[in-house]
Symmetry: C2
């Protein structure tokens, strides 16, 4: 019997060898040397170092300071690298080589794992869009006429995407209550979260060549939790007619861990039934595998759970979003990120934003340390999630967390 | 008398030594080796090669394949490099070194001169916004209530910014006329232009630190003509409530030449009088130098002039746009691009889009080869511009041109 190893991940651990999400880390000894890591249990594997030590053909993709080279390598490489990693962490013959390259998670610093190219944010939850419509346009239809015909999206700011754990400074900006004679300037008083799932593009596409629904897995490498921080007061005053801008662009937090799509094969589910026939480029009624992902998200503020948004309830799938985003000929680049939009389920405690949970401040959420309508300075928001894996396992998603600091 | 030299630029040439815009080029002999060039008359100067030949301290900034290192170097470096370049092209003592590194413009290929980080598009012409409001919202106020309180903007797609000369494939997408029972899919039938001026950020800023109005020139390196191609039918159906997306993201063309702000000192003009008092972070009534630029733009289709939009008429200045874009703490990166929004003056023939020139297709524009409401396949659109320089000179802006190809 070999002695206890970090590779002996307890059964039921959501970060066992069936998961193997990717990240980028540094150590205190070498704070400038970023390295690709793979999470296994409570450890991070220095994947590049192992690849070099084993003379692996994937050293060129893994002995890097960012995931971008691996992302750009395409689906066959993703599959082959994952097979190799799985062998390294499960094959007893590799233990002697692998174990020296395992570092406890709490001894490393995690970084943004890819260089973000373009960032698009969607609006794909029917429950969320309906709630927002009811709150902001109480006299009109909750959903705009286009909502069930296309996945509504808009571009966000790539340069302010930050890794989980980064403090978020409360943004200042203009706001104007309907009763104010003119806008006022100051720190946002309606700072909110949006619990989302992000997707990162690996293989690029050519300008002028739409990506078909069925080619989703050729281009998208993996997914992660994303918190699209939102200043509702700034957003409400600015967003007509060209959409959200400063209400969103101050920070978007993403998990340090990217879960490869392959780890989520058992979590694929059919999206909800569609209420209208879809145009052919969005019609997923005949696709080989369902486009939804059964991710169970939990939103916590200061450690206290406030909502459990179910990603399986999203009306529009990520594959539909990708097909829509490129149908006009827009190209994809390695590192393009797109967010699902706030994940909200049909139930009150499944809503992925405080805007919805408090109905724009009307109904406070009760926390142990007091009531909340929107976020207060010092609040820490954490999103976690898991998905069903094969054979009753759970696939954990890396958390995304951030603390609000004063303006 | 020395014999005739490419450096003997005719008096009155808008690309004389008072201008010196920057670009990136390759030659047929070395199509993979991108080099920083400076335009002088009908020639491009291989600036990096001259810097190396002269042992210049700026060789590290100029002997590069993109302008990004120079952009990142900051304002003092921009000024010093410009002084050096001016000496190289005007000092007879340098002629022997400089002349071998001049290439006729028609013998080089020009490329996108910087790596674009984020792209933001504004909506800063009161005349344009008023026209659009009247066309699309005839029953409401032409301007939304926020318009005169903040420069409205939104993020665009960085990955589809292309250099002048790149063909633009007609995009396909969803559109729905009010009388249609459901959206239809197909090539855009309302393909349009937007004549704009773009600005590129050089020196980055830190997240959480707004850039004040007065620090505009510390961060912005230069400007250029920009054509924000727009599919009006796709845009009209998709843009409520989150703004333009696929109607814009298929292509944005920029000039191959970036004019440094220093070349435009004589073109600074005060913006129009403001109708409402501005919040302090946007209030430019007391700034040291006026924020407007007197750029005279010409829009041509297939060589025939259709409009002359005056950039001096813009309500919001680029400095105000930069201050607004960062007031929420959003950081700047080297290569961030922001566009002014369509430039339209008060007169009918000063409108910078076909949407306005034809009043959404009602009044066709007469061209030699037929009438146009929107663009037809094969049409070539070209924007040119000049600005007043010192002592009666003209500063030319590099053109931006693009041809529509069939979907």
């Amino acid at each position: 019997m070999p002695q206890q190893s970090p590779l002996d991940v307890p059964e039921g651990d959501p970060f066992g060898p069936h998961n193997l999400p990717y990240g980028v880390f540094t150590t205190p000894a070498e704070p400038e040397r970023r390295r690709v890591g793979v999470r296994i249990g409570g450890y991070v594997l220095d994947a590049g170092a192992v690849a070099v030590a084993l003379g692996s053909p994937y050293a060129g993709l893994l002995a890097q300071g960012s995931l971008n080279p691996l992302l750009a390598a395409g689906r066959t490489a993703w599959r082959d690298v994952r097979r190799a990693l799985t062998a390294w962490v499960t094959d007893p013959g590799h233990r002697g080589t692998v174990e020296p390259h395992l570092l406890p998670l709490d001894e490393v610093t995690l970084h943004l794992p890819y260089e973000v190219a373009d960032y698009v944010d969607f609006y794909a939850s029917e429950h969320h869009a309906t709630n927002v419509g009811r709150i902001f346009r109480p006299d009109g239809d909750a959903l705009t006429p286009n909502w069930k015909h296309l996945p509504i999206g808009y571009h966000g700011r790539s340069g302010t995407i930050v890794v989980s754990g980064t403090d978020v400074v409360r943004p200042s900006g203009q706001r104007k209550a309907p009763t104010d004679p003119a806008p006022v300037f100051g720190p946002s008083v309606k700072l909110d979260i949006e619990a989302e799932v992000g997707f990162v593009v690996g293989a690029p596409s050519q300008m002028g060549r739409p990506v078909a629904l069925g080619d989703f897995e050729e281009h998208v490498f993996g997914l992660f939790l994303l918190n699209d921080w939102s200043a509702r007061d700034i957003q409400a005053w600015e967003y007509v007619p060209l959409g959200p801008f400063l209400g969103k662009s101050f920070a978007t937090s993403v998990s340090a861990w990217v879960t490869p799509l392959e780890a989520l094969d058992a979590a694929r589910v059919a999206p909800p039934a569609r209420d209208f026939p879809l145009l052919p480029y969005l019609d997923d009624s005949e696709v080989d595998r369902p486009g939804g992902f059964d991710l169970r998200i939990t939103v916590s503020i200061n450690g206290q759970e406030v909502a459990r948004p179910p990603f399986a309830s999203m009306y529009w799938t990520a594959a539909q979003q990708l097909a829509h985003m490129t149908v006009n000929g827009a190209s994809l680049r390695t590192g393009d990120v797109f967010g699902s939009g706030t994940v909200s389920g049909p139930e009150v405690d499944e809503r992925g934003s405080l805007l919805e949970l408090t109905w724009n401040g009307r109904d406070a959420v009760e926390l142990a340390d007091g009531k909340r309508t929107f976020l207060e300075d010092g609040d820490t928001v954490t999103l976690t999630a898991w998905a069903p894996g094969a054979d009753g396992t759970r696939v954990g998603l890396g958390e995304v967390t951030g603390r609000i600091t004063a303006a």
